[in-house]
């Protein structure tokens, strides 16, 4: 009895092995290795190109955020004195006397109404005196690199060209810049108004887009039947994710600012005041950006939900769980790290979004921080955009400082979300 009779089918297999032996192989090993090395280099170059681009960006921003500035005064602060005593020895009440000497009664009343002098700190009184009486003005500014390399030449140059000016090494990203509201004076202006605006707007984006996006994704993945309608909706969501953001701005303008004005201006809550009328509020901006990121959040959440192994769903159903119990106890906890990854990316995008907010009506100039979601607003990217559009040299440095603030806030936001995500995914293992 041969082996072939015992195991039907093996006779074919042995013929196959003989066939295979007839082929010759040319291994070509050096060439294959060379191709591998070339591709590896191509990949490496791409990474390096990315790193270089990012470094150039960071360096140029930092370069503009610090550096010498020539500052001219109407009255030099060192010459300010009351009864022979210099400014930095005066108390707050004495500074008020000094201000009375130099300012109009009107301006003084204005300052008093902004923040009464009796409640101001000594430091604040000092600053007010310098800015109100001396009126400093940055006539020329230089970048960090230039300032460090040519500091001696700069001193000579400024002494000759601007004999009245002080050459000061300015840190444009100082604590005053972060703590002050916007001002028309470039040396006093701050980013706080825009920071608050951005935080409010992003808060609304998260509160609106995150739950709605997840809910839509759950419905589309777990509940909806794979019908023709489902395909249409899915295609539309995919396309909406690619629509330019300015289009969403138009939508926001038409829908939230115009059509839903009573809601977005707070009028139906009785909160309307004349300055925030016509719906150009934080709420409108937040809802517009929420619409903008919604498709991306939905698509990402769908991917994450699809990645939950089916065996888990089966196990859950097999134990007599309902659909909702399965979704809530198993699908969502397992999908949430992936969902958060998508949300982090989307919210970061919304954070840096400018164009739709310009259309929706971000304020070009407001000096007070937003108080509620029905306030007028500006955001950091809007502020950067406006500062870079100004002709004066000094705004370039202020914009650079604002960009650093924007990047730091973005990093904080992302880091928080990533830590949250990692904690959630660790809990599952």
């Amino acid at each position: 009895m041969t082996i072939h009779e015992n195991y039907p089918g093996t006779e074919d297999r042995s013929r196959f092995t003989e066939d295979i032996r007839r082929f010759e192989f040319q291994t070509n090993l050096p060439l294959r290795h060379r191709i591998g090395i070339i591709w590896r280099l191509v990949l490496l170059v791409s990474v390096i190109a990315g790193i270089i681009a990012l470094s150039v960006l960071l360096i140029s921003i930092i370069n503009d955020s610090f550096g010498y500035a020539a500052i001219e005064y109407k009255v030099h602060p060192s010459s300010l004195s009351l009864n022979g005593r210099p400014l930095n020895e005066l108390s707050c009440s004495e500074i008020v006397l000094l201000l009375e000497d130099h300012l109009t009664a009107n301006r003084l009343r204005q300052l008093e109404s902004e923040n009464p002098f009796s409640t101001r700190s000594l430091e604040d009184c000092h600053e007010t005196a310098i800015f109100e009486i001396s009126k400093p003005k940055a006539v020329v500014t230089w970048s960090l690199f230039y300032s460090l390399k040519y500091s001696r030449e700069l001193k000579i140059y400024v002494a000759q060209k601007y004999p009245d000016a002080d050459l000061v090494f300015q840190n444009w990203l100082n604590s005053d810049f972060i703590r002050s509201p916007q001002s028309s004076d470039p040396l006093r202006t701050g980013i706080l108004t825009a920071i608050m605006g951005s935080i409010y707007v992003i808060g609304i984006v998260i509160v609106v887009a995150f739950p709605v996006g997840i809910a839509a994704a759950i419905y589309l993945e777990e509940y909806s039947s794979r019908s023709f309608l489902h395909k249409i909706i899915q295609t539309n969501i995919n396309n909406l994710a690619g629509v330019p953001s300015i289009i969403y701005g138009m939508l926001g303008l038409a829908l939230f600012v115009r059509a839903l004005e009573p809601l977005t201006s707070g009028a139906i809550f009785g909160l309307s005041d004349s300055t925030t009328a016509n719906g150009r509020t934080i709420l409108s901006a937040g809802l517009t950006l929420a619409l903008l990121v919604l498709p991306v959040i939905i698509i990402n959440a769908q991917e994450a939900i699809r990645a939950v192994p089916n065996s888990l769903r089966q196990a859950s159903y097999g134990m007599g769980a309902t659909k909702w119990q399965t979704v809530w106890h198993h699908v969502l906890p397992n999908a949430i790290p992936g969902i958060l990854t998508g949300t982090i990316l989307s919210v970061s995008r919304a954070f840096g979004e400018t164009a739709p907010l310009v259309v929706v009506g971000a304020s070009t100039y407001i000096t007070f921080n937003p108080e509620s979601i029905f306030s007028k607003f500006t955001t950091i990217p809007i502020q950067i955009y406006q500062w870079t559009a100004r002709p004066q040299d000094v705004y370039k440095n202020i914009a650079a400082a604002a960009i650093i603030v924007l990047l730091v806030l973005l990093l904080t936001l992302n880091a928080t979300a990533i830590i949250l995500r990692n904690r959630l995914s660790r809990r599952l293992i």
Partner: protein
């Protein structure tokens, strides 16, 4: 077939003769379609109470489809459609007023690949009880978890690490955990879909012993590719095969000893002696 196997079969035979005809679940003219494809055709089978019934047959003959028809798991596949009846204690579980969730609580399932939830061992078991409306204090739940793990012969191995993830266990332990969480919700029937195919021989042996223990209280239906396993553990064996249209049909059904030693059909004999499949 070796001597040991025959001995085992004859011992199950002795059990059988004492059993009265007690059917717990019954398929009547059951057909399952996937889209337009008829996957299993005209299945008629009566499953005995508190016995182990094995479904065997070549790959793709619809064993798993039949098994999943018993607790309406096929409903989860959008394109699947079932006709005919499955009578559970006389009631058709495919009737319109029957909630599949209730069916699955009464007829639990253990899957081919161990699939514990990514939760603690304790939670793996307590969760099923909780979602099914377990009424009791925390200590009642503790007792339930312990009892289920004991019944699944896992308690001694995991009693000190109940708060560890179910996924930290070995494959065989994971599968016993899956059995434990199934019996924690007190089903009448446990369906097992090749529960040992992903396990090593020793784990397989443990699960088989466990099945024999469980069959005192539960009805077990098991799909297996391993004919020795079917012969070792089951009381009844159903042999499915393919028609020309590649639909699965029930070829032969009887006590395991009869099917393995004295099959009525030529195809059955060919299959269990390894001539095809």
């Amino acid at each position: 077939m070796n001597f040991q196997l025959l001995q085992q079969i004859s011992s199950t035979n002795a059990l059988l003769s004492s059993a009265v005809d007690q059917s717990i679940i019954e398929a009547v003219n059951l057909n399952v379609y996937y889209g337009n494809f008829l996957a299993v055709i005209d299945i008629n089978i009566k499953i005995e109470k508190q016995k182990i019934t094995a479904l065997i047959g070549p790959s793709g003959c619809g064993k798993t489809t039949v098994l999943r028809a018993f607790n309406r798991m096929n409903d989860l596949i959008p394109i699947a459609r079932t006709t005919g009846e499955v009578l559970f204690l006389g009631q058709n579980i495919y009737a319109e007023d029957v909630d599949p969730v209730e069916v699955r609580k009464r007829i639990g399932m253990v899957f081919q690949k161990p699939n514990p939830f990514p939760k603690s061992i304790y939670e793996n078991i307590a969760w099923g009880a909780r979602i099914n409306g377990f009424r009791g204090t925390k200590s009642d739940l503790d007792d339930l978890v312990e009892q289920s793990l004991r019944d699944a012969a896992l308690w001694e191995e995991v009693k000190d690490k109940l708060d560890q993830s179910g996924l930290s266990l070995s494959g065989g332990q994971q599968q016993r955990l899956c059995i434990a969480r199934t019996i924690a919700i007190k089903p009448d029937i446990i369906l097992m879909d090749e529960p040992c195919s992903a396990l090593d021989p020793i784990s397989t042996l443990k699960i088989e012993e466990l099945m024999r223990d469980l069959s005192r209280n539960y009805t077990i239906i098991i799909v297996t590719h391993n004919m020795q396993q079917a012969a070792r553990v089951s009381d009844f064996t159903a042999f499915l095969t393919l028609t020309e249209d590649r639909a699965g049909k029930l070829m032969e059904y009887g006590s395991t000893s009869q099917v393995f030693t004295n099959p009525k059909e030529k195809v059955t004999e060919d299959y269990i002696t390894g001539r095809f499949g």
